[in-house]
């Protein structure tokens, strides 16, 4: 996927002025956090589970090579195939190669962020293979030719009215006077449209929430059942996943599943949890004739052993963005690539380079809410700070900010000069602001005073007043 992360500020400006988006975000801010709270309130062991989840993933990351090889052996033992892709280009070519071999014309897809990461849909289309998204949200944004704005709720930036409009514009075979007032009628219409596509598809592509090393299985969770139809009906099932999706055992996956839906949507479990192991066996009533897994690295192995390794614990629940006040203000598209919000602020620079995403780790107030709700206890603010350190070292941060900060640090290390400046500033600004108590306009603080007043100082610095009082007392 093409990134516009470098244009984050412009993207955010546009998002703040988008009335539909803002109304959709108002709903999101009110919904997700409360549902999560309700769900974990009913599970006293939630905190223990977080610790357990963290340890499971830490253990895997410390022994990733061993588990990957074990996983590969067990996929093969179950009759499946494993392909390794270092780059998005390699993954696209492997998918295309499989489609060509199978003579595939249409491909149904369950929701997969990895496919977004490698820009699969546009590529397949350009090669004459038609991809059809089957997750409702993904289906909607595919019709609108938009990228997802959230990793679990891809169309969360849209209002119901916008979806209705899109359906009327694209489903032109249906009666124009049909009633699409209720969300239910929109779902029913999408279901009707998709049913036929499921039956005709040659290949089904899904992502994976977990890959189980001990059994060679892949696990997906959905709320619509579209994943099952995608992977069971066509002749071949292709799983797209990144390396760090591995967990050792089914029990480990079960522990993480208990964290996932609660953190994501506030459900105890997603409606469908599907474990797939290999292709259809002789005694199976249904299933795909071929089962392929393509494992993507795309920079992840380079994060191992660095200060960003912990990011690979992420299970893609979206809790960090659901709770992030910055995401809540601008939505997901502003971040400019596949992964928005706090997790994207760390993952995006890791995968596409900090020079292409230098705003993202800076666009955070470090309020810490993301870390506090992350089921895997990923220290997101700390890692964003590490990226700021890299930007500082590589002089990627804005020159004006660097000069300002250097001057301030120079003062902070020279107390007499620092206090002299502060005493003068307190006096001058205090005098100028005395009548109003605040500034409507202030040179050098225009970014602040454009939309809010700058409170005026009281007139003298604390240090000056304190030490003068001490002197008086001593006399």
């Amino acid at each position: 996927m093409q990134s516009t992360s470098h244009a984050f500020k412009d993207n955010a400006h546009e998002a703040l002025g988008n009335r539909h988006l803002q109304s959709a975000l108002d709903k999101m801010r009110a919904g997700f956090p409360q549902r999560r709270l309700d769900a974990i309130g009913k599970l006293p062991e939630f905190e223990d589970l977080r610790e357990q989840g963290r340890e499971i993933k830490n253990h895997v990351l410390e022994n990733l090579d061993w588990y990957l090889e074990r996983y590969e052996r067990n996929v093969i033992a179950a009759g499946g195939h494993v392909h390794w892709a270092r780059t998005p280009e390699e993954m696209r070519q492997i998918v295309l190669g499989l489609c060509r071999k199978l003579g595939a014309r249409t491909v149904t897809k369950g929701k997969t962020m990895i496919a977004e990461e490698v820009g699969l849909n546009d590529f397949l289309e350009s090669e004459g293979v038609t991809p059809i998204e089957t997750d409702l949200g993904e289906y909607i944004i595919q019709l609108r030719r938009e990228p997802p704005s959230h990793i679990i709720a891809p169309a969360i930036h849209l209002t119901k009215g916008q979806v209705e409009k899109t359906f009327r514009e694209t489903h032109t075979d249906l009666p124009p006077d049909r009633n699409l007032e209720e969300p239910r009628s929109l779902v029913a219409e999408a279901r009707t449209m998709l049913r036929e596509k499921f039956l005709k598809a040659d290949v089904g592509i899904t992502g994976a929430n977990f890959l189980i090393a001990e059994t060679g299985s892949s696990v997906i969770v959905t709320n619509e059942g579209n994943g099952d139809l995608t992977q069971l009906l066509p002749r071949a099932h292709i799983v797209l996943a990144s390396l760090e999706k591995i967990v050792p055992t089914l029990e480990d996956a079960a522990a993480l599943l208990r964290l996932l839906a609660r953190s994501a949507t506030g459900q105890d479990m997603s409606v469908y949890t599907t474990v797939s192991t290999g292709p259809r066996r002789a005694e199976d009533p249904d299933g795909p004739g071929e089962y392929h897994v393509i494992l993507l690295d795309n920079g992840r192995s380079g994060m191992l052993g660095t200060e960003f390794q912990e990011m690979l614990r992420c299970i893609r629940c979206g809790a960090c963005m659901n709770h992030c006040p910055v995401y809540g203000a601008i939505g997901g598209h502003a971040y400019g690539w596949v992964y928005p919000g706090p997790m994207g602020a760390v993952l995006t620079p890791s995968l596409i380079g900090i020079e292409n995403a230098k705003h993202l780790p800076n666009a955070s107030t470090f309020c810490g809410k993301c870390e506090s709700v992350c089921p895997m206890k990923i220290p997101l603010p700390k890692m964003m700070r590490h990226y700021r350190e890299r930007e500082w070292q590589r002089r990627l941060s804005p020159p004006a900010a660097r000069v300002g900060l250097k001057f301030w640090a120079f003062l902070a290390l020279r107390p007499p000069l620092y206090h002299f400046f502060y005493a003068i500033a307190a006096q001058v600004l205090g005098l100028l602001g005395r009548r109003q108590g605040s500034f409507y306009n202030l040179p050098l603080a225009g970014a602040w005073t454009a939309t809010r007043d700058m409170p005026a100082p009281q007139g003298r610095s604390f240090q000056e007043m304190w030490h003068q009082r001490r002197k008086k007392k001593a006399v």
Partner: protein, 266 residues
């Protein structure tokens, strides 16, 4: 530290870390903190060579300057029984981040850790360390309270200010919906991304106004200036009566003669 020979134990020595914003913008918060710490049975000193905690450098990725400032702060304050900070943000910097910042320098990291163990945000110090449960103060009004992020999530500041405010005569506390959601200040964030910051503080200001409270309190000058600035602008535009904005320490110390943040003296 010092040998005490007489029968009454010496009062603990507290070093007050003033913070840049209190020093420059609102000395009354510093004097309120001194009064409260003294009321909790301690003696207060204010090292004259202190400057900033170094957080702006630390959060901008300038580790070198941040570490140099941290070492200076440690030198100045490591002789005290306690270090008290009227800010969750600067307090969190010293208590949570100094040891991490200096981790490549073991001797200094050890000194940072020792200092961190003795460093407290003002509300936590009064309530948890000194066991203070009530204050002698009066404030007539309905107040609402914003939980500043660093204080809340790094240092656990939540019930302490509420318990103490509960003892202020004439004061009614009306909880703020979304009190734990960031106000959009974020240090340099508010000038690096002013539009996003403004959207966040606008949402916060709406929530504050919806409570109907006449006063907003919090424990961090950065957040307070951001919220006060936005409230003032909104009230100027609509002609509404401005919400009074104060640091919680001013109300607890009964030092509310100075005009509220962003307001002119009457």
């Amino acid at each position: 530290m010092s040998s005490v020979s007489d029968s009454t134990p010496a009062k603990p020595r507290v070093g007050l870390f003033v913070t840049c914003l209190v020093d420059l913008f609102r000395p009354s918060v510093g004097f309120a903190a001194v009064k409260l710490i003294e009321e909790s049975g301690c003696q207060v000193e204010v090292p004259g060579l202190q400057t900033c905690c170094g957080q702006p450098a630390f959060n901008s990725g300038d580790k070198q300057d941040a570490a140099a400032i941290a070492r200076r702060t440690i030198l100045l304050f490591e002789g005290f029984d306690y270090v008290v900070v009227p800010s969750g943000s600067c307090g969190g910097m010293i208590k949570e981040h100094y040891p991490e910042l200096l981790q490549d320098d073991p001797p200094w990291q050890a000194r940072a850790t020792t200092l961190a163990e003795r460093t407290w945000e003002l509300m936590v110090f009064l309530h948890d360390v000194r066991g203070m449960r009530r204050v002698e103060a009066r404030y007539d009004g309905v107040v609402t309270y914003h939980d500043s992020c660093s204080g809340l999530r790094e240092l656990g500041v939540k019930r302490q200010p509420r318990t103490l405010l509960g003892s202020v005569r004439g004061l009614t506390l009306k909880e703020l919906p979304g009190a734990e959601i960031c106000c959009g200040f974020g240090g340099t964030f508010c000038v690096k991304y002013p539009e996003i910051s403004d959207k966040m503080v606008g949402t916060k200001a709406d929530d504050i106004l919806a409570t109907g409270a006449d006063t907003l309190l919090a424990g961090d000058m950065g957040c307070l200036m951001n919220m006060a600035g936005k409230l003032k602008r909104l009230c100027t535009e609509t002609g509404a009566r401005p919400t009074r904005v104060r640091h919680v320490a001013e109300v607890l110390a009964g030092l509310t003669d100075e005009p509220p943040i962003g307001e002119a003296g009457g």
